[in-house]
């Protein structure tokens, strides 16, 4: 396939900071692009998983079971696609990948990744955020820091607020 169909995120936020992105993204199911490193559809990655310069992206309706999680453990990064920012399945996928399957390397949000969803994404275990091209970096960084406190545990804070309150009330 012609590499002209590859996507490159103009703005990538990694661990809360803008970062130069090395990875290209291909949404073409049929053939591997030439460029490396590149993120490709899951099936294509599974067929070529021995290539360390390839990483998979998961569609939002991916069924993440034990078998798939075991395969993904070898991936240098896992991207999760947001076909529309209103599709909330990616949040559950990221939490499963992190919390249930203990995936340690980069989990990247791709697709319709907008400023106002970044905070929730970061709480669910996305440590890399490939912003949609029209989004502003300064807005994004501000939105990421919108809250200093949360009620629920997440991938970021593992203690529920009710536990923290009890701990603090007990002088711990």
């Amino acid at each position: 396939m012609p590499d002209t169909q590859l996507e490159h995120a103009q703005t990538l936020i990694k661990l809360g900071q803008p970062e130069q992105d090395e990875w290209a993204l291909s949404r073409v199911e049929e053939a591997l692009p030439k460029q490396r490193p590149v993120i490709v559809p899951l099936a294509l990655w599974q067929a070529n998983a021995e290539d360390p310069q390839l990483a998979p992206w998961l569609a939002s309706d991916t069924l993440l079971d034990d078998e798939l999680a075991k395969a993904l453990a070898k991936a240098p990064l896992v991207a999760i696609d947001f076909p529309a920012f209103t599709d909330g399945r990616g949040y559950s996928l990221a939490r499963l990948l992190r919390e249930r399957y203990g995936y340690q390397a980069e989990v990247r949000a791709i697709g319709d990744v907008l400023v106002d969803q970044l905070y929730y994404m970061s709480r669910c275990g996305f440590d890399a955020l490939a912003l949609r091209d029209d989004q502003h970096l300064d807005d994004a960084l501000r939105a990421l820091g919108a809250f200093s406190v949360s009620y629920q545990p997440g991938v970021d804070v593992q203690e529920a607020l009710f536990e923290r309150r009890l701990r603090e009330a007990n002088g711990a």
């Binding site: 920012f85 209103t86 599709d87 909330g88 399945r89 949040y91 559950s92 939490r95 249930r100 907008l114 400023v115 106002d116 969803q117 905070y119 929730y120 994404m121 709480r123 669910c124 502003h136 807005d139 501000r142 939105a143 919108a146 809250f147 200093s148 406190v149 949360s150 009620y151 629920q152 545990p153 997440g154 593992q158 203690e159 529920a160 607020l161 009710f162 536990e163 309150r165 009890l166 009330a169």
Partner: protein, 550 residues
């Protein structure tokens, strides 16, 4: 009631700042309407027919007098001096200006209020029993549990973009006053034979376009696991609920499609991983939630005062009517809960002016420890009134027009804002309610009819809960004209049922006459003290149909 600590306050303050930023970007053209829309909805802001509408959360219906005064003040400064209490125990402003909304939210935050998740495809305000904590049939006060759920669901990072809205209701009493069977998740708190607290979990109930009664997912969940189990339920819904068709996106469609066994299997499979995780509740956490809902320091009411109250009830017919209909027994002898009727002919059902909000706040302070509840029937409740003060309170309520002795009768109509305000409505609903209240205002007639829920929705989104009214009225649009479909036999309480449609719909002006015919069939056919609902269940739809379409 629940009081914020610095964490709660920080969170709502930061939410206001976040929304201010979003609004500024929107007004500056950096955040287009289709991307701003879910954000504003999750802050309660709709763009309506005539103006924006702001829905303010009243968590499980609990309101302090200070908060009510602040709400009155907000309606004066930013709106037209009145607000509308909804069937989800919230308050709506009908005329705020878009650009004022961040300021309104900031003012709300000053009195520990917000509009978080009062709309949008997320977990909404949890609702409960308006007599929580004081009902004599209560097993467990649901309010601490509602508060734990409120905190768990507020800005839940995984569940901000569910397939559709998600509503949870909690009941802890023998009688279900929270309509738990018609919620996405309904929870019933109960004690097993050892006295340990369990939670019955229902899923897949709901009204709207496809009304359904919820199925039992789990009969006896130990309380420690409430939040992890809810998380499992919502995660299954988030992953498998339909997203291709918004009319088929509620959890009820998923539960129906999978079947309750398969739904339960998936929830249990998910829960197996979450169980005993960091959101598992412990005694200290529950005790600390309960500490916000302590018994007020009620003074003793003497036997003589109780006897004097009963004597007055025997002598004064108007007072007796008020007590019979608008006053509810309390678990503490000498105390009563008083329902303030917001069904007044000169106002839309559930509407209260700012001046009346102030007046009611004063009454709450003088008669009921400064607290109020909002009911899903769109009334207000003062929950702790000593009987020796009932007469004085009654007279003050008379002066406000809130003593209509018609709570629970045909006149106590549940009604959505309808086509007069709402952008979704197919037809008006308030004028229908007013026409019916005018036609059926004779108290003896209303009392003779007995308990009768008449619910009106202006469209099939069913904000007026028409499916579960003993009589339900639904506004429909046919080629640009407003018609009304009438159903009977619905019920929202323990033996919940959905109403059946009588037949072809009616012109607006014919609705009172049709209701009159339905009532006549009941009066002619009922046995002794049989309720409308029971007569209908015995004789079925046919006699009603025959009379109405004769």
């Amino acid at each position: 009631m629940y009081r914020y600590d610095t964490y709660d306050q920080t969170l709502v303050d930061e939410r206001v700042a976040q929304f201010r930023d979003q609004m500024a970007r929107h007004l500056a053209g950096r955040l287009p309407e289709e991307e701003f829309r879910p954000l504003r909805l999750q802050n309660g802001l709709y763009i309506q027919k005539h103006a924006p509408m702001l829905r303010i959360a009243i968590p499980y219906g609990m309101l302090s007098s200070t908060q009510l005064r602040a709400l009155g003040d907000i309606t004066r400064r930013y709106d037209r001096g009145y607000g509308h209490f909804t069937t989800r125990q919230n308050l709506q402003l009908n005329w705020p200006a878009l650009e004022d909304v961040p300021e309104i939210l900031a003012d709300l935050a000053k009195v520990q209020m917000h509009a978080i998740q009062t709309s949008g495809n997320c977990i909404r305000n949890t609702t409960s029993d308006q007599f929580a904590g004081i009902a004599s049939d209560e097993v467990e006060d649901p309010r601490p549990w509602c508060e734990l759920i409120r905190q768990w669901s507020t800005l839940h990072p995984e569940f901000a973009f569910l397939p559709r809205k998600f509503k949870i209701a909690v009941s802890g009493a023998a009688e279900d006053r929270a309509a738990i069977q018609v919620h996405d998740i309904g929870l019933r708190l109960w004690h097993d034979s050892d006295g340990s607290l369990k939670v019955k979990v229902l899923a897949g109930g709901g009204l709207g376009r496809t009304p359904m009664i919820g199925d039992v997912v789990r009969e006896d969940l130990p309380w420690q696991h409430l939040l992890t189990y809810l998380e499992a339920c919502v995660r299954v819904y988030n992953q498998f609920g339909r997203r291709d068709n918004k009319f088929k996106a509620r959890i009820k469609i998923l539960v129906k499609a999978l079947g309750i066994e398969e739904f339960r299997r998936r929830v249990d499979a998910e829960w197996a991983h979450l169980k005993d995780g960091p959101q598992t509740l412990n005694q200290a956490a529950v005790d600390s939630a309960r500490a916000h809902f302590v018994e007020p320091e009620r003074r003793a009411v003497s036997e003589q005062d109780i006897a004097a109250f009963e004597a007055l009830r025997g002598e004064n017919r108007a007072f007796a009517r008020f007590v019979t209909n608008n006053v509810t027994d309390h678990k503490v002898p000498g105390y009563k809960a008083v329902t303030l009727s917001l069904k007044r002919r000169e106002h839309a059902p559930g509407d209260v002016t700012a001046d009346h909000m102030d007046a009611v706040a004063d009454l709450a302070e003088r008669y009921s420890f400064g607290e109020l509840r909002v009911t899903h029937e769109q009334n207000l409740v003062l929950s702790d009134v000593p009987v020796d003060q009932l007469e004085a309170l009654w007279q003050e309520l008379e002066a406000l027009g809130m003593a209509n002795p018609t709570v629970g009768t045909l006149n106590d109509i549940i009604c959505c804002p309808g086509g007069d305000y709402c952008g979704l409505a197919n037809a008006v609903s308030i004028p229908i309610a007013q026409a019916l209240q005018e036609r059926f205002e004779d108290l003896d007639f209303l009392y003779d009819l007995g308990p009768l829920d008449l619910n009106i929705s202006g469209c099939m989104n069913a904000c007026g809960h028409h499916h579960v009214g003993h009589i339900g009225i639904l506004g429909v649009d046919k080629k640009g004209e407003e018609y009304y479909q009438i159903s009977i036999g619905g019920n929202a309480t323990d033996d919940a049922s959905l109403g059946k449609i009588l037949g072809p719909s009616f012109y607006r002006e014919d609705v009172p006459e049709v209701i009159d015919k339905v009532l006549k069939v009941y009066v002619e056919q009922r046995h002794d003290d049989e309720r409308f609902l029971d007569t209908y269940r015995r004789i079925g739809l046919k006699p009603f149909k025959e009379r109405v379409y004769a």
